[in-house]
């Protein structure tokens, strides 16, 4: 139980990077970008292929990030210069990427089991720090018997996710970033304030997909393979993370919202892990569970609000009635 939760949190922080990308398009740019389902796999494929070719894993991971950036920029171009509807631009790009990803890998699945990944290197470098022993000692002290194989991945992924969060926060507060945020908020206004909205959208969607591809590259190295279908349903997972995070932690400022997205992604992973422990649920049900989570998260606030409104009106009527009788 603890080990599977540990694994959930570990991959949760990687998926958090993907969720930050989805946040940039869906929330900041108000651009429902489905490229994500393809660019995640592009990241995974580029990293896997490069590693198999003998390129150092860290370089392979950076290459994946750039590949995602280019894919996102093309989606942005389709939308702004090609005047294609935003949803359709993403779908077109996602579809095109499916073929491209197959070409990159030259097969539907590319295994990394016999390769040295970034995490293998990390674990090796970590081994003689003694941090694992210390942390496991703590776990032992609270009575746990099974310990995680390594803390390095969790700790480093937390750091990476937060570095990306801080970079995002910084970007969104720069002059360029403020104009980018205004696109999703009031496009007409920011154009009248001399911002080139087309370029900002192209770069914004590019950055978003570079995050997603980075997450894809890391997940591939964590799982030991890249698969052409591993992006399926990813957009809903990203949305679920954002919605859960926002509901629990709020969106008052950008700094808060990006933190919420990260935590939302981790909590989502935990929910899925717990759900899969329920006997009658299978791995294949995950997407259904995710969709249900999103639907619940979207619908509940409206129901709660509706209830409140009803109660408020009922109270008003009561008051009026009481007041009327009082006067009579």
């Amino acid at each position: 139980m603890f080990i599977s939760l540990f694994g959930a949190v570990e991959s949760g922080f990687i998926y958090a990077i993907m969720a930050l990308g989805v946040y940039l398009t869906f929330r900041v740019l108000d651009f429902p970008d489905l490229t994500v389902e393809g660019s995640f796999v592009t990241g995974a494929s580029v990293a896997a292929f490069s590693i198999v070719q003998g390129i150092p894993p860290i370089v392979a991971t950076v290459l994946a990030l750039f590949a995602g950036f280019i894919a996102g920029c093309i989606t942005g171009l389709l939308h702004t210069k090609g005047k294609i509807n935003s949803l359709l631009s993403g779908i077109l790009m996602m579809t095109a990427l499916y073929s491209i990803n197959l070409r990159i890998m030259d097969q539907p699945t590319l295994s990394l089991l016999n390769e040295t990944t970034i995490f293998d290197q990390l674990k090796a470098a970590w081994a003689n720090t003694g941090i694992d022993a210390a942390l496991n000692g703590l776990l032992g002290a609270v009575g746990l018997e099974k310990f995680p194989a390594t803390w390095s991945i969790l700790i480093v992924m937390v750091i990476v996710a937060f570095i990306i969060k801080f970079l995002t926060d910084y970007y969104l507060k720069t002059e360029v970033g403020l104009a980018t945020r205004a696109i999703g908020d009031n496009k007409k206004m920011i154009r009248s304030l001399s911002a080139n909205t087309d370029n900002l959208i192209i770069v914004g969607v590019g950055i978003s997909n570079s995050f997603v591809a980075l997450a894809g590259a890391l997940i591939a190295q964590l799982g030991g393979f890249s698969d052409v279908n591993m992006g399926l349903g990813l957009i809903v997972i990203g949305l679920a993370s954002i919605i859960i995070g926002e509901a629990l932690f709020g969106t008052k400022t950008v700094v808060r919202a990006t933190l919420a997205v990260i935590l939302g992604a981790v909590i989502y992973r935990i929910i899925v892990t717990l759900a899969l422990r329920v006997d009658f649920l299978e791995t294949g049900d995950m997407k259904l569970i995710t969709a249900v989570i999103v639907v619940i998260a979207l619908v509940t606030p409206k129901i709660v609000q509706g209830r409140r409104e009803k109660m408020r009106r009922a109270q008003k009527r009561q008051q009026l009635k009481a007041g009327g009788e009082g006067r009579a």
């Binding site: 970007y171 720069t174 002059e175 104009a179 908020d185 009031n186 206004m189 154009r191 304030l193 001399s194």
Partner: protein
């Protein structure tokens, strides 16, 4: 400062809905001119503003700013020279961003946007000073989201945002029309103050004839896509609402006659 030559705009050309919104408009503004624009609904006033700002390209004609041809420049490039306030108080600000963030975006209007923080300590102080001139207490709410402000407050902020970088041209399109009378008066007074202090070259569309008479050194009246009446300086000072009504009646009458003549 601003020169419009032979501007024509036709919507839905070649269809039964064809509408000639502007017909061969000529207009020249000197630096510091404050022109009020009146005219019935559908006269083409907003269309004229859109042609100047670049939100709309004319079928034919030239737009010159500071002697430079800008008719082919897209809106975002032209807005380096132009400040705008729209009729809808919601249109000129970003609701989910804070007051200081909105001001920072406007501050970058005539500069290249960079990857440096939009709100700095120094700028924040300056924003505070600027907000004080509005007398609305907004200087104490720099971190409030603009969506929380009232329509009047938002419009005052929009006005500040479009003027504090002293644009070459200020375009106001019925920017007090959506406000209640007291708020409208506040915005009118602010407009007057800022235009006079910064000597902004201004075009202000208004549906309020009294306002058109009280403000500015020039007045133009539009109808059916044309400028049908103009008054400058002293002539404008002497004008009354009755004069405007008479003028309108007179010109419209003759125009009507002309149309009929063509039809026959």
């Amino acid at each position: 400062m601003l020169k419009l030559k032979h501007i024509s705009v036709t919507f839905n050309e070649g269809t039964p809905d064809e509408k000639k919104a502007l017909k061969d408009i000529h207009l020249e503004l000197e630096k510091g001119d404050f022109v009020t624009v009146i005219g019935s609904n559908g006269a083409g006033k907003s269309t004229l503003m859109n042609v100047i700002s670049g939100a709309l390209y004319p079928d034919v004609g030239d737009v010159l700013i500071n002697g430079k041809q800008v008719v082919d420049l897209p809106e975002y490039k032209r807005s380096k020279y132009i400040g705008r306030v729209f009729q809808d108080p919601m249109a000129g600000t970003a609701p989910s961003m804070t007051i200081e963030e909105n001001l920072a975006m406007a501050y970058s209007r005539n500069k290249k946007r960079r990857l440096t923080p939009g709100v700095t300590k120094q700028r924040r102080e300056w924003f505070r000073e600027q907000l004080k001139t509005l007398n609305l207490g907004l200087e104490d709410r720099l971190n409030a989201k603009v969506g929380l402000l009232s329509g009047g407050e938002r419009q005052a902020l929009s006005l500040l945002m479009s003027t504090f970088t002293t644009p070459d041209i200020l375009l106001l399109d019925e920017h007090t029309a959506a406000l209640d009378p007291s708020r409208a008066e506040l915005i009118t007074n602010l407009t007057k103050k800022v235009v006079e202090e910064s000597e902004l070259t201004t075009l202000m569309v208004t549906h309020n004839m009294q306002q058109a008479l009280d403000l500015g050194n020039r007045l133009i009246m539009m109808d059916k896509g044309q400028i049908i009446f103009e008054a400058h300086g002293e002539d404008k000072q002497k004008l009354t609402i009755q004069d405007l009504m008479n003028e309108f009646q007179r010109i419209r009458g003759t125009q009507f006659g002309d149309d009929r003549a063509v039809l026959m």
